[in-house]
């Protein structure tokens, strides 16, 4: 049993070594400095820009969703970014979900409803890896919290594609792409965003940087959907605590007035 686990681990490690040589073995380049962005949710009053989230959702569905899941987001959550109940129902109905089972034990396929999670593009991890040269496209629902300086990191990474410097050109493995931000400078995801790749319905020019910013905003909402209620609650709690503290201070002074100390 133990040997089985170990040899399995060895096989997987070998697979990693073969398909994902992202390790420092080939890392001649350093990770480039992140260019920090201004985000609408920064600061104690910060929140999300619904228009931007919807644009980001559009980029997600038209570009990212081909490979990246959004496992923790249900269609019903999209009402939080400004879609109406009917719009969400319609959006959901465009997807098909598999359910267990009919009376013969065969899976049922039905249109999704708002209560369903957004379906993952792949049925399982092996399928996802097989479709991507061994690499696993990470789920996008927590990504901005799962990386240091997540929003800035993802934004810079999406825009971090360049031609490799001449001395590294030969070291880029087949199926890998040069990226200034990704650890080791080789990433299995090709550059995805090009100007005017999507057409925004609100008329915002779909530049590469704009799309990157919008999709990162959407990802951050997906990762931290309670951000706005958290910050709003925070203001009220802090005001209450502040008043409590002031009152407690004067109460303490008054009670201690007769003590020489």
């Amino acid at each position: 049993m133990r040997t089985g686990v170990l040899s399995f681990a060895a096989v997987v490690a070998l697979a990693f070594a073969t398909f994902m040589p992202a390790g420092p073995a080939l890392a001649a380049g350093e990770q480039a400095e992140l260019d920090p962005q201004e985000w609408s949710w920064q600061g104690i009053f910060g929140g999300f820009d619904r228009q931007q989230l919807q644009r980001g959702f559009q980029v997600y569905t038209e570009v990212c969703a081909a490979c990246h899941g959004l496992d923790y987001v249900a269609f019903r959550n999209l009402e939080e970014i400004g879609y109406s109940e009917d719009q969400v129902k319609y959006l959901a109905s465009l997807y098909e979900v598999e359910e267990c089972c009919d009376d013969f034990g065969d899976p049922i396929y039905r249109p999704a409803i708002p209560a369903d999670r957004i379906p993952n593009p792949y049925p399982n991890e092996q399928f996802a890896r097989a479709s991507n040269g061994g690499a696993l496209p990470p789920d996008m629902s927590l990504l901005t919290k799962a990386r240091a300086n997540g929003p800035d990191y993802v934004y810079n990474l999406i825009l971090g594609y360049e031609d490799p410097p001449p001395e590294l050109e030969d070291e880029i493995m087949p199926g890998m792409y040069y990226n200034t931000i990704f650890d080791g400078n080789q990433i299995a995801m090709a550059r995805q965003l090009f100007d005017d790749l999507v057409e925004y319905s609100d008329g915002t020019p779909a530049t590469e940087a704009q799309m990157a910013k919008d999709v990162v905003a959407f990802m951050h909402w997906a990762a931290e959907p309670k951000l706005e209620v958290r910050k709003q609650t925070g203001i009220r709690v802090m005001l209450f605590t502040f008043v409590f503290t002031i009152l407690a201070y004067f109460l303490k002074r008054r009670i201690w007035a007769d003590v020489k100390h």
Partner: protein, 407 residues
């Protein structure tokens, strides 16, 4: 007060005769507990620690109602708490950051005890109970961090439980026994959850003993001399009011982190589901374990590292006898006072070293720091107690205070 008692007062008397719980509380933290009148704000941290224990237990019980201790569901159930459980995000952020703030409060409480010599006779048992609480807190926090079953949860659990494999001969068997299998897995998560739920109530029990042991000699004070009866004031209303104000200031900082920077003290990798096949680039424990982690990694020998790490806490048990000075407060001990602050800085530096890769400058500093940590306890404290000339102590707490206006 009229001699005729109302029905409410008589009912109260009836109950108190049978179970005097109100007078018990009144004697513990009320009008019947006389405390020195010169306690400074560092004495707030005991009650703050008690407050945080209550916060952790309350939020923890509510979280446990929606948490699933299974390797396949733990991460998802935490995300469900964050997204779908009413105010679940608040409970989790209060609990996760609460652990950090609990440790901040307790570390300040311990350093206060060290500075003012609160561990010295007749408070040795009180000090011991405090160390036991610290050890229980560390075990509880470690197991709690495993529960979300993120990458740091899994690999932190793997690294820390593997420490026991350093024990000669039976080490590997012990580790297998701790895991409930041949790797950190579902049995490990299950037992950690059970113990994480149990230990806080054990802490409550030891806290009761801690307060009991406090009430035998009474509170120490910044002068370190025995407080005469005329220098004492009732805990309530004086210290309840002072503690309420201190609590407000503390809450402002705690809530600022909970509401505005709830992930600042956590590691991003713990938002990646546990994966036994992918080791994170740097496995680091939570910040409150970093000084001990630095001590662990300061030597090349694994067994020695483990021994040093456990010794760094266990040595506190004999601190009352390592410190040979009979003067409690550092305010009257010129050399010890300097050594205390050096020791404090060494602990901070060790914490920084623990967050870095163990090589180069951090490794050198963690070796120097580890050496100084034990040198402080084993050599400096006994020797300084003999050679130091303390400043003259006041005859009573009131003396320096009351004397001032006469100047």
């Amino acid at each position: 007060m009229s001699t005729e008692k109302g029905w409410g007062a008589r009912a109260f008397d009836w109950f108190e005769e049978r179970l005097p719980i109100v007078s018990f509380i009144d004697h513990s933290v009320g009008t019947q507990y006389p405390a020195p009148k010169n306690l400074n704000y560092f004495w707030n941290f005991g009650s703050l620690a008690g407050f945080m224990l209550v916060v952790m237990i309350l939020t923890g019980i509510l979280l446990a109602m929606s948490y699933t201790p299974h390797v396949d569901y733990a991460f998802d159930s935490v995300e469900r708490i964050m997204r779908d459980v009413n105010s679940g995000w608040l409970l989790r952020y209060m609990h996760a950051n609460g652990a950090s703030f609990f440790f901040i409060v307790v570390y300040i409480h311990i350093f206060r005890g060290m500075y003012y010599g609160s561990y010295k006779a007749p408070r040795e048992v009180l000090w011991w109970l405090g160390i036991i609480i610290l050890l229980l807190m560390m075990a509880t926090a470690f197991m709690g961090y495993v529960l979300p079953w993120g990458q740091m949860s899994f690999w932190g659990a793997t690294v820390i439980t593997n420490l026991f494999s350093a024990i000669p001969v039976i080490g590997d068997e012990i580790v297998t026994w701790l895991w409930g299998g041949f790797a950190v897995g579902n049995p490990t998560l299950n037992r950690f959850f059970a113990l994480h739920y149990l230990l806080p109530f054990v802490i409550v029990g030891v806290v009761v003993l801690h307060i009991w042991a406090l009430h035998i000699p009474g509170s120490n004070n910044p002068t370190g001399i025995e407080a005469a009866p005329q220098d004492k004031i009732p805990f309530h209303p004086y210290y309840t009011a002072k503690d309420a104000f201190g609590l407000g200031v503390f809450l402002l900082i705690y809530f600022a982190v909970v509401f505005w920077a709830p992930n600042s003290l956590g590691h991003p990798d713990n938002y990646i589901p546990a994966n036994p096949l992918a080791t994170p680039a740097h496995i680091v424990p939570e910040w409150y374990f970093l000084p001990f982690y630095a001590i662990l990694r300061s030597v090349d020998n694994k067994l020695l590292g483990v021994v040093l790490m456990f010794a760094s806490i266990l040595i506190l048990f004999v601190l009352p006898w390592l410190d040979t000075s009979r003067i409690r407060s550092a305010n009257f001990r010129p050399i010890f006072r300097v050594l205390f602050w050096i020791f404090f800085v060494v602990c901070i530096v060790l914490g920084w070293c623990g967050s870095q890769t163990a090589e180069g400058l951090p490794l050198i500093l963690s070796r120097v720091g580890t050496f100084w940590y034990f040198f402080h306890f084993l050599v400096l404290l006994p020797v300084v107690g003999w050679i130091e000339t303390p400043r003259s102590l006041p005859t009573s707490i009131s003396t320096p205070v009351v004397a001032k206006p006469a100047e």
